[in-house]
Symmetry: C2
Subunit: 400 residues, 2 copies
């Protein structure tokens, strides 16, 4: 069996944790399996490097930021390989160049295009444990790229897909996927199995256990995922196409407090308006989350959308440079918001879910700024300060 | 003009120093020159990484150590490129892969075999400032290698040679090459110009200003070197083939206190004996410095040689595994030694130099353990505790 195991930054935060990871890897290896290990940078390394860059200047070159950040992952793989080698196991660490992890050229938010398998397969054929840097890639210009925060999950799933691995295990510091963040909602329950689609909504809604692109990719290539703890023996959560467990109405609640809303008020009601705006934002590498368009006054349109707070400045620059040309009457920015969402494959069949959600907000005097719905989720924007209260209220309301 | 500028670890130790380096680089660039900058890891980064590795295990895999250490240089080049980019100059950082810095596969002590110039030239043609990682290379297996301590000097000279640069400037924290280490001999004088050969002896004898392999390479390819301070405007020391300044009898005094001596006593007097011993050591990547062979008792030979203290364990392992087969009667190890040397192109013409050196030791009651001479240097091994005294005494004796 070929198993890909991904360990996050907290799982390799210090020497003791690295030795713990080495033991987990050896268990799988000595059971006769081939193992590819994907690692993130240790603990706060990425944050420390970002801080260092910001000491140099306020907005560092994105290409050079990737050059800098990728060193964190390379340190992790070297240290784990040392530990495994010292324990007597054949092991080799590989960075994105050595693997051939080809991505787009969008520094900081690159997307994987192709993973070369020649070297990976050669090392596996020699029965080497292969330890690969997560998060990092190489553009067609041979420049180093990174996949954005949480990108190591994507690396792991992509390698599992490229090699046709039997299983991709995502090790983290929690025991699996919960119905809500247990730090916020103390009586949250661990989910035994969840479908790709439900996980996708949960992941993209700020349940930080799995990176959403990794779930998309797992779904696309049918990679079976297990989310489990690197510190305990708990069985974790299985993510796959069909879940045999009984469908719950609501499978989880997610909260994210890093949300900025931008409202463009009084845009002309003309074809191509949305295209102009969102293609300009895409060119500036601004990732937009929720988009809502509604009728404004005097035959105009109001367009609201959300971005993460780190992208707000880039978005502002694009909008301020273009708003006159676009004929926008006014722009309103708000970055003191949180997005709270309920997710569940059973939701579509029950018309009362949305009103039940809004009722929970009303009961707690929480004002709703924006509502967005899909077949398996409902998201609302509320003031950041009420996020925890809202999540607890929803958890109780839906008896998770 | 094409100028290669190398800045050592202390020159890029913190944000302020990096911004200082950026200013120095810009001065050269805005004067109309093309600039390639070669950097070491920041300050104590390499030592910190080695410490981290040793927390994992006592003797980490050398391949993985190179994977780990090379991240230090990559961080430096990214940070300097950010600074230059922020100042408005076109710049690109490149690591050993991106340049194509091909080395042997001896991890930790690799030697440069070839430097690809395609990407370097392409970036220079675009008038980019190119910032390259020193110290690091790539083996034919696409594994990361390092050139050993001080290897960044070698990287700089090799790039200067490969690109046919007009000048290679080695920036450091002292103002040039001195007649002795000014921290040990306070009245040491800065040398204005010195020949490759003299510099070579000084460098290999522990004057830590320039890495000896960099001087060898500069000599081989006729690269003109300047050693100067990154913190002051002093003119520095020129290293080139012909020195127009008047030849001094003795150009410098060097001391090194990281020396271990190994004596193999009573080896059979047979052909191939030295070959067997030193080829076994070379296979274990032990770099031997001084070798002395003398007559022993009963038609045997005594062979003594020195290694740096870090290599002593590796050397011991080789010797203990082979000494019976080699017919060695006894082995003696001593690592409390220092090597003190006097260097000068004028030395060969003056028979009194050696006796003057030994007299200075006698005057200071310093016992000499071993003597080794060449045409332009004399080295002695003495007890480590007397190194400073010996260097001062020699400096006074030869009126430098």
């Amino acid at each position: 069996m070929l198993v890909v195991q991904k360990f996050g930054g907290s799982s390799v935060a210090n020497t003791e944790r690295i030795l713990n990871v080495a033991n987990r890897v050896v268990e799988t290896y000595t059971a006769g399996h081939n193992v590819v290990v994907v690692l993130s940078a240790q603990g706060d390394t990425t944050d420390d490097l970002i801080k260092k860059a910001h000491e140099i200047c306020d907005s560092p070159s994105k290409r050079e930021m990737d050059m800098l950040l990728s060193t964190g992952e390379q340190q992790s793989v070297a240290l784990l390989a040392m530990a495994l080698s010292n324990m007597g196991y054949p092991v080799v660490s590989l960075n994105a160049y050595q693997v051939g992890m080809i991505t787009t050229s969008s520094h900081g938010i690159a997307r994987l295009k192709e993973i070369k398998t020649t070297r990976l397969n050669r090392e596996l054929e020699r029965r080497n444990i292969v330890v690969v840097t997560g998060f990092c890639g190489i553009s067609k210009f041979e420049d180093i790229t990174t996949l954005g925060r949480g990108g190591s999950d994507t690396t792991a799933v992509a390698i599992a897909a490229a090699l046709g691995a039997d299983l991709c295990e995502i090790y983290t510091d929690v025991e699996g996927v919960y119905t809500a963040d247990p730090r916020i909602v103390p009586n949250a329950q661990k989910i035994e199995a969840i479908s790709y689609n439900e996980m996708l909504e949960l992941a993209s809604l700020g349940a930080k256990v799995l990176h959403n692109r990794s779930v998309e990719m797992a779904k696309k290539y049918g990679v079976e995922l297990v989310v489990r703890s690197s510190l305990t023996r708990a069985t974790g959560t299985i993510v796959k196409e069909e879940c045999k467990v009984e469908k719950m109405l609501i499978s989880g609640i997610a909260g994210e407090d890093d949300v900025a809303r931008i409202s463009l008020i009084g845009a002309p009601d003309a074809p191509g308006q949305a295209f102009k705006i969102f293609s300009a934002l895409a060119k500036a590498d601004v990732v937009v989350d929720i988009i809502i368009q509604s009728m404004g006054q005097n035959n105009t349109r109001d367009i609201s959308f959300t971005v993460d707070c780190a992208s707000l400045n880039d978005a502002k620059n694009v909008i301020e440079a273009n708003k006159e040309r676009w004929g926008i009457a006014a722009v309103d920015y708000n970055q003191d918001l949180a997005k709270v969402s309920i997710v569940g494959a059973g939701m579509v069949a029950d018309a009362g879910i949305a009103s039940k959600m809004f009722e929970a907000m009303y009961d707690n005097h929480i004002n709703i700024h924006l509502i967005s719905t899909s077949e398996i989720k409902i998201s609302i924007l509320i003031d950041k300060d009420y996020m925890k209260t809202a999540m607890k209220a929803l958890h109780d309301k839906f008896c998770l």
